[in-house]
Symmetry: C2
Subunit: 502 residues, 2 copies
């Protein structure tokens, strides 16, 4: 048993005596520490040690608070359990868990919502308190004590490089065949940074392991736990319509000679719109597609399976539980078609701009001038975070934002006079899509955009009111971006008071 | 006379017969055309032909409208004269002229306010109507019909490449010694773009001329007109204090080991705060400084003269008239120390992030959560535009925004509950500075930022009211980013009604 483990998963004999139980490993984490966790989305994150720490904290009456840095979201075993145990003081750069979200919005947790590619730099440049302990899920440890990552890379390399001590969770549930899918390349800090030598999504430029070294490894916990990946949400009729509009737009770009049938590398946020778009692409006339993105979901696996797409670069594999099971039986097929990179690379502005990524992301709301809110409900309540949407949107070849035109059974218009929070500005949002249609905003002034967004994207129930606001604003304010400031946010305020924007 | 001109400025004999008067050249510009003009800031822009066109249009009663694309702002000979003549229908990507601003805000001109580095891509990718005629100020035309630019590069290379016809203004006022200062490198469109091989601000990677070819040159106008550069504004006491706070901050970063005495390449917006900062640097302990910026002003020339800075990469030289005169006597000295690049490179995200630029820009207003408005007065009225501030801010190593804490004799607070327009979001603004002090926002949650900005940066006259808003908002809304939405923009609305935010 130990022999097999040694041979396959822990390839340095001297590390065998560092194998401990999760509870013992959790003892290494002290009050006030900064913890860096591996993974990105519910994929590749540590599970056993975080759960043990949460249990310990719940039983203790001593004050215990830590800061948690991750790649992006992690599973409930970290964000959920730790939030419930009340041990997180600061959290960055992203989350999607209901329990931690509740504590963020109640003010108990200080949450720093960051561009994901910049989170790596904040660590490397020493802009935020340093990582004390990194907890890393790994497939295996090499003879030299380096870590073979599992299915989500995120900021792991940066955390391991900075941490004083590293706790490794060797997850036997993760097939060893994944080894080699990761391509780890790290950047030097300025002024010594070199050009990142990626000119095609399929370029491999690094090594298949995260540098660590045996000395840093303070504890090894052997686990057998599957990622709590998200179930696949059904694609609604409206989301299907959004997908159709996006594919229609892309077809028109091909017809206009601004794209070829191979398009350019695709990026997409997670969720059912993304799945709808990629399922739509499976049935399209496009061919030899490539993806340069941060998350691979079910539909992207299907796109690769169908041969429509030839390569996907990502920092995380996050399919539904069913799709994950299927994927794990086809790893050899996917190994040549998927590259797992650190998020500093998957989301890197330099590479995204060079490759000319087509960025497709979802919005909570958009305003008539093309500003997009991706993060806050009614301006104050954090939903998830900006994630990588800013990395891709500011640097993409074409940047698309979609949302269903209404929410809460029509009580909320997703197109408003003035968004209650801005994550993507009028300067970088190119195309807005709802189930009603799309508005291509490129080269339009704010006034021209307003007409197009209202006519093409707003729900018919709100078009008249939006046009009325725009018309009246044009009469009373300067006309670059007409607004009536004491009415601009009144739609939201009305919803808060009456439960409807109508 | 023709011999000397031929030898020095028009180095192809067959082009001599294309020399015409400005009025004749202006005849090439027809109603409905898109015109691309050389230059960036009031530097390197065409003058004689635009003035002739404006005169012609004023005398004519035929409808005549054109779209004007430039690098950034241009002199009054273009924006001022054309706005006055009423011939601009669409304008992009930036302006600073009072006459055109008036017509933008009256709704007569459709103005597209763009990230300057992206404006090149919009042209190259065919996202906006194509340039019909480029008007280019040049030092000289080479034997092969290529154009040696003068003192402002901007988007000239992209316009020339796309235009059907090129009108060249050979400006004898510009010293021939400038030849060689420009380094022209253009990028291919994805998927064929290569890494940009700049790893130091001083790297030269291109050629000293803009590719054109004799065939495209439809007319040559010989002029002798100086750029209408902006006079140097005096540095106020408050701006001096802002500069001191910025230098204090940089010193602390050096002390913390996050920067060396050589800092990292500096970028700065134009204006008196920028001048104050660079004058401050002249007297600082920093050494071997470098600049990677879009505009070189008086103070940056002094920084190079003093030896404190060793190199400046820019797309434009835009000193005051006095400093320009002095500069022109010292071109040999500066030729090894200044590189003029196309704005796609001076403002390139890839290069800015790789070099680790320290970006220092000014704001119109900021809110308590760190969002910055750089463009709109009271949410609707366009001031100048976002310019390059977004290119540098999103990708810089450290990003700083400054403003005097009040405007209009204290009637306006530059720190508000909610900015009336967002150009730079909470996700990328790192340091906020007013004459009151600075707030280092790195790694802070919105709540933590609010306290710091109010305490360190807001004017004492407004601190209590800001804290009162923040406190009351915290009681009624979700606590990630506390807001009272029907009060969030009330400070602006109050100013519009009463003339004061107090």
């Amino acid at each position: 048993m130990v022999d097999k483990l040694l041979k396959e998963r822990i390839r340095s004999e001297k590390l065998l005596d560092r194998i401990v139980g999760a509870e013992d490993a959790a003892e290494l984490i002290k009050d006030g520490m900064v913890i860096g966790a591996s993974g990105f989305t519910p994929s590749g994150y540590p599970k056993a040690v975080p759960l043990a720490l949460a249990e310990k904290a719940k039983k203790s009456d001593k004050p215990f608070k830590i800061s948690l840095y991750t790649g992006a979201s992690v599973g409930a075993e970290v964000d959920g359990a730790w939030a419930e145990a009340g041990i997180i003081s600061k959290r960055l750069p992203y989350q999607t868990n209901a329990k931690i979200r509740e504590k963020i919005n109640s003010g108990e947790i200080e949450y720093v919502d960051m561009h994901l590619s910049q989170s790596t730099q904040y660590v490397n440049y020493g802009f935020i308190p340093k990582v004390d302990v990194a907890i890393v899920e790994a497939l295996a440890i090499t003879e030299d004590g380096h870590l073979i990552p599992t299915s989500g890379i995120g900021n792991t390399a940066a955390f391991v490089a900075q941490a004083d001590r590293v706790i490794v969770e060797i997850n036997k549930k993760k097939p060893l065949e994944l080894e080699g899918m990761a391509d780890i390349y790290t950047t030097k800090a300025p002024p010594n940074r070199e050009p990142i030598p990626i000119t095609h999504p399929g370029d491999r430029i690094g090594v298949p392991y995260i540098e660590c070294g045996a000395d840093k490894i303070a504890a090894i916990v052997v686990t057998d736990l599957q990622d709590s990946t998200r179930p696949l949400a059904a694609v609604s009729e409206k989301e299907k319509q959004i997908s159709n509009h996006i594919i229609d737009f892309l077809n028109k770009e091909v017809a206009a000679g601004r794209l070829t049938k191979e398009l350019l590398p695709l990026q997409s946020g997670v969720g059912s719109v993304a799945n709808a778009v990629f399922y739509g692409l499976c049935e399209s006339d496009f061919s030899n597609l490539t993806c340069y993105t941060e998350v691979v979901q079910d539909s992207m696996l299907d796109l690769l399976r169908s041969g429509k797409a030839v390569i996907a670069s990502t920092t995380s594999l996050s399919p539904s539980p069913e799709a994950l099971e299927k994927f794990e039986q086809e790893i050899e097929f996917f190994k040549e078609k998927i590259i797992l990179r650190p998020q500093e690379l998957s989301n890197n502005p330099e590479v995204i701009r060079r490759l000319g990524v087509i960025a497709i992301n979802t919005a909570i709301e958009m305003d008539i001038y093309g500003n997009v809110n991706s993060t806050h409900i009614m301006g104050s309540k954090m939903m998830n975070g900006i994630g990588g949407s800013g990395d891709f949107t500011r640097n993409g070849y074409i940047t698309i934002f979609s949302t269903v035109s209404t929410a809460k059974d029509g009580a909320i218009s997703s197109i408003v006079p003035f968004v209650s929070h801005v994550d993507h500005t009028e300067h970088e949002v190119m195309v807005i899509v709802t189930e009603q249609g799309y508005a291509d905003l490129r080269g339009l002034s704010p006034k021209e955009r307003a007409i197009k967004i209202i006519e093409n994207c707003a729900h018919p129930d709100y078009r008249t009111a939006l046009m009325d606001y725009y018309t009246r604003a044009s009469e009373v304010s300067a006309k670059q971006t007409p607004h009536i400031l004491d009415e601009a946010l009144s739609w939201h305020a009305k919803f808060q008071k009456t439960g409807s924007m109508k």
